[in-house]
């Protein structure tokens, strides 16, 4: 056999002996680097070949290409069926009634806020909005089992993560109206929330860029977990769409996360569409879950309409992610994007209305949980009506308040680019100030907190 010459064979069980192949920092379960194993000898009778790039591969004389399409699709984990009935009574739902009620209230709140803000955008009250319809269970369910100290990276359709972690209605509205109380200082498009208090990094519109960030942040946490054993260990959680998973950043992120064994959960929301592009134009493998194996990652596919399944999957993934100092886990949460991509999109230009209506009728994370709550006699129509009316009022109060606030001070246009205002920026600010002073009627500076003083203050305080 031609392979024999260039390749050293070994008995596979020998290769896995820690003393021979593993560097000190690695645990026996972690695959080792090929350099360290070069010197391992093999015997003539070995059934496996130890190529440095595939350490546990058996010889075969059958010429057979892998044909993934011939495999059974990866199965989808669920806890309850579509009527809200729990499938494995013994395992249960792992959720207290009161907790389930809170999850339900948050999902309803999110869906009402979405409807209202979508409508408000249509009326020209804000510039942009994106709804989570059909994916409320994924964001709220997964967030509900994380530690508040875990670090989260989002794409943009994870408003439920913010809500579940405690982002207030006022905070949402301030961001959406880009007013002076917006944590993001009016710089970002609506729905690009961020909160250091809640350990969620600010959203960037650029798809998939947050996935390698999550890997790197998880590596930081891995080291910090080691360095501070008295502090409860933390992980990062990264959300992204199945469309974003086509970006190079996704692949780079999973690969580096695996090689550095970082404590991270990568949660793909597979909602069937990337704007107009259906998954059939996006990929040809078995969804995003099939990629996990390629990177040597523990992977699970979950029914995103089943909030209990989402919770249990995420909880177990968190446990795995912290095992042996850390390892990445991939979860593909299945859903259907019920809403338009955003307020800029009319999805009926590329999909049938009946398709959407069918999906809405067939399954939905809210109705599923509601059915379960009703089956436990802790929810009914009267409670539903009372909840909806209360939430609507609360949202509208926040809406009204936020819309009336002033816009952020103009200094925030220049601050934060570099740590300090630069000489060049100072020249620009002075030139702008001069224009604003000489042409006061051309600009609405009084809408902005502090008016012109905001800019002047910037140049002055910086000069000191």
């Amino acid at each position: 056999m031609s392979l024999r010459q260039g390749t050293r064979r070994i008995r596979i069980n020998k290769a896995w002996e820690p003393s021979r192949c593993l560097s000190g920092s690695q645990t026996p379960r972690i695959p080792f680097g090929w350099q360290e194993c070069r010197s391992v000898a093999s015997t003539a009778s070995a059934e496996r070949v130890l190529f440095p790039g595939a350490l546990n591969s058996k010889f075969t004389n059958t010429l057979k290409f892998l044909r993934p399409s011939a495999n059974e699709a990866i199965s989808t984990y669920r806890v309850m069926d579509q009527s809200g009935a729990v499938i494995d009574k013994e395992a249960g739902v792992d959720t207290e009634d009161e907790e389930a009620l809170e999850l339900y209230r948050n999902m309803v709140c999110l869906s009402i806020m979405d409807l209202l803000m979508f409508e408000a955008q249509r009326q020209g009250r804000l510039s942009f909005y994106m709804v989570s319809a059909g994916e409320e269970g994924i964001s709220i369910g997964s967030a509900s089992v994380l530690s508040p100290a875990d670090v989260v990276f989002c794409q943009y359709r994870e408003t439920g993560v913010y809500m579940q972690r405690g982002f207030t209605l006022d905070q949402f509205m301030n961001q959406l109206f880009a007013n002076s109380k917006d944590i993001g200082l009016g710089r970002n498009m609506p729905v690009h929330y961020g909160s250091s208090e809640l350990n969620i990094h600010t959203i960037s519109s650029t798809l998939a860029t947050q996935i390698p960030h999550a890997a790197g942040a998880a590596y930081a946490l891995k080291l910090q977990n080691q360095q501070q054993p008295e502090v409860p260990p933390r992980i990062t959680v990264c959300y992204f769409g199945e469309g974003a998973a086509s970006e190079g950043d996704f692949h780079a992120a999973l690969n580096i996360a695996a090689t550095r064994q970082v404590p991270a959960i990568f949660i793909c929301r597979n909602n069937g569409y990337a704007i107009s592009t259906p998954t059939s134009d996006q990929y040809r493998g078995d969804g995003i879950a099939s990629r996990g194996a390629g990177y040597g990652m523990d992977t699970l596919r979950v029914d995103g309409n089943d909030i209990f399944a989402v919770r249990r999957a995420t909880k177990e993934a968190r446990r795995l992610a912290l095992e042996n100092g850390g390892k990445p886990v991939l979860i593909e949460m299945m859903a259907y994007r019920v809403g338009h991509h955003s307020t800029s999109d009319d999805s009926f230009a590329y999909r049938q209305k009946v398709e959407v209506e069918d999906w809405k009728r067939r399954d939905n994370p809210l109705t599923r949980l509601r059915k379960w709550l009703e089956s436990r006699n802790i929810w009914d129509e009267a409670k539903e009506r009372e909840l909806r009316s209360r939430l609507r009022k609360e949202i509208l109060v926040a809406f009204d308040k936020a819309e009336k606030e002033k816009k952020p001070g103009i200094k925030h246009a220049f601050e934060g680019v570099w740590e300090d205002i630069t000489e060049e920026q100072k020249m620009h600010i002075e030139e702008l100030t001069d224009i604003l002073q000489r042409y006061p009627k051309e600009y609405d500076i009084e809408q902005h907190e502090g008016g012109l003083a905001s800019l002047l203050e910037l140049v002055k305080t910086d000069k000191k």
Binding site: L115, L116, E119, Q123, G124, R125, L126, S127, F128, V131, A133, A178, G186, R187, N188, M189, S204, S205, T206, G243, A244, S246, E247, G248, A274, I275, S276, T277, D281, Q282, V338, G339, H340, S342, T343, S344, D345, A349, S389, R392, L396, P408, H412, A413, F414, V417, T422, E424, Q425, H428, I429, L432, L436, R438, Y439, K441, E442, Y443, D444, H448
Partner: protein, 402 residues
């Protein structure tokens, strides 16, 4: 969207109460005015696409264009907007050259800006197709197709999202011919289209104009059309040239800029700036959307202080037409460069340096740059960051009074 329950309708009514602040509508359907100017404004907010002299409002003016071939000038015109002009150019290219391919994210249903409407249906998904969501992948794919003799027109959904493909563009597309030496292999025929510029509410990632980054790369051609007529003729030339082209379409103009456009196909030069208006006292050099700002500023300035300004559209940002610019500046003795992207190392720096080197003794004032400031395009601050009519007006005044 989910069907509206009666209670939501009630809320909609609540929301419908008259309110003061009205933002422009939505990201992709850009409106006429990117933002509402201050109530008492006299200069800002005066860009009128319906009457601007930069667009051909009559068939006769459209056909008077001396750059059009004689037979096209004898033909018909049609009133269309810029995205339709792009569509017509792509349609013509697909129809007349089987090497032409059109692809990108979401282009099969027409693209988020409607530039590729009906092309997949009419030419088939072999040649007009959706790509997976990966800019580096789709641009690399386009380079490969071009290197084997096709003429791919790849769309990047927003110029802000071209950066994953930066390596492919700068290290591959731009260097292909050079590194191939006598093998003669190149990726000419490749066009990378992308919507660019501000629309009033695009914030950090739907506003950028990264032309200067590409203009810093030998081997690329960088083109920015100002109008439907220009878009059609320049895009056809971009597809025909044997150099890779970065074709940046000012997205606010997709719908706002409407004019009479020749129905027949025609090609516009990729190496010529165009003097849009002649004048004696100052030369204003710009491209894309800010040309409309400049035009409104010139109108106000000429009325207010009786000056006379010359307006030049660079059209091709790189390689660019130095001769036309220098000739004008040598005549007027003053120059202003206007663009949206920030000043430092921007196109204005190159234009100003060239003027300084080659027309120094004719200058009566320093070359003035009116550009974006050294910052990002914060959502609510766009109107303070991007050059407006007031800033260009003031620059004219100061340059003339210098």
């Amino acid at each position: 969207m989910a069907a509206k329950t009666p209670s939501i309708r009630a809320l909609s009514r609540y929301l419908l109460r008259p309110q003061t602040s009205l933002h422009s509508c939505c990201q992709h359907r850009t409106q006429r005015k990117p933002y509402s100017a201050a109530a008492g404004a006299r200069l800002n907010g005066t860009v009128e696409y319906d009457t601007t002299s930069l667009l051909h409002h009559t068939s006769r003016s459209a056909l008077a264009n001396p750059e059009l071939p004689a037979d096209v000038r004898k033909g018909q015109t049609k009133r269309i907007n810029l995205y339709t002009a792009v569509n017509e150019a792509l349609r013509h290219a697909l129809q007349t050259d089987e090497r032409v391919l059109v692809f990108g994210e979401d282009i099969q249903f027409g693209g988020v800006f409607r530039c590729t409407m009906n092309l997949a249906a009419d030419f088939g998904t072999e040649r007009v197709f959706n790509t997976p969501l990966s800019e580096q992948g789709l641009v690399g794919f386009a380079i490969g197709a071009a290197s084997e003799g096709m003429r791919p027109v790849a769309e990047i959904q927003f110029a802000d999202y071209v950066f994953p493909a930066f390596d492919q563009i700068v290290n591959e597309a731009a260097k292909y011919r050079y590194r191939s030496g006598t093998t003669g292999v190149h990726c000419g025929g490749l066009v990378i289209r992308m919507p660019t510029g501000v629309v009033g509410h695009g914030a950090l990632y739907h506003s950028q104009s990264p032309e200067a980054l590409f203009a810093h790369t030998p081997g690329l051609r960088v083109v920015i059309p100002r109008s439907p007529t220009q878009a059609k003729g320049l895009l056809l030339s971009a597809i025909r040239t044997n150099d890779p082209v970065i074709f940046m379409e000012p997205k606010v103009l997709y719908r706002a800029a409407v004019e009479q456009v020749p129905v027949d196909a025609y090609h516009l030069p990729l190496d010529k700036a165009e003097v849009l208006k002649t004048g004696k006292d100052v030369t204003i050099v710009s491209y894309g959307t800010p040309l409309y700002t400049c035009s409104a500023s010139i109108e106000a300035a000429e009325k207010d202080f009786g000056c006379s300004a010359e307006l030049i559209d660079l059209r091709t940002i790189y390689p660019w037409d130095r001769e036309t610019v220098l000739k004008s500046v040598k005549k007027t003795g003053r120059a202003i460069v206007v663009h949206e992207s920030m000043m430092n190392a921007g196109v204005g720096a190159e234009v100003a340096a060239t003027i300084q080197e080659r027309a120094f003794l004719r200058l009566e004032a320093p070359v003035k740059r009116v550009t974006g400031w050294a910052t990002h395009t914060g959502l609510i601050f766009e109107k303070f960051i991007i050059p407006d009519v007031t800033r260009v007006y003031d620059a004219i005044k100061k340059t003339i009074d210098y």
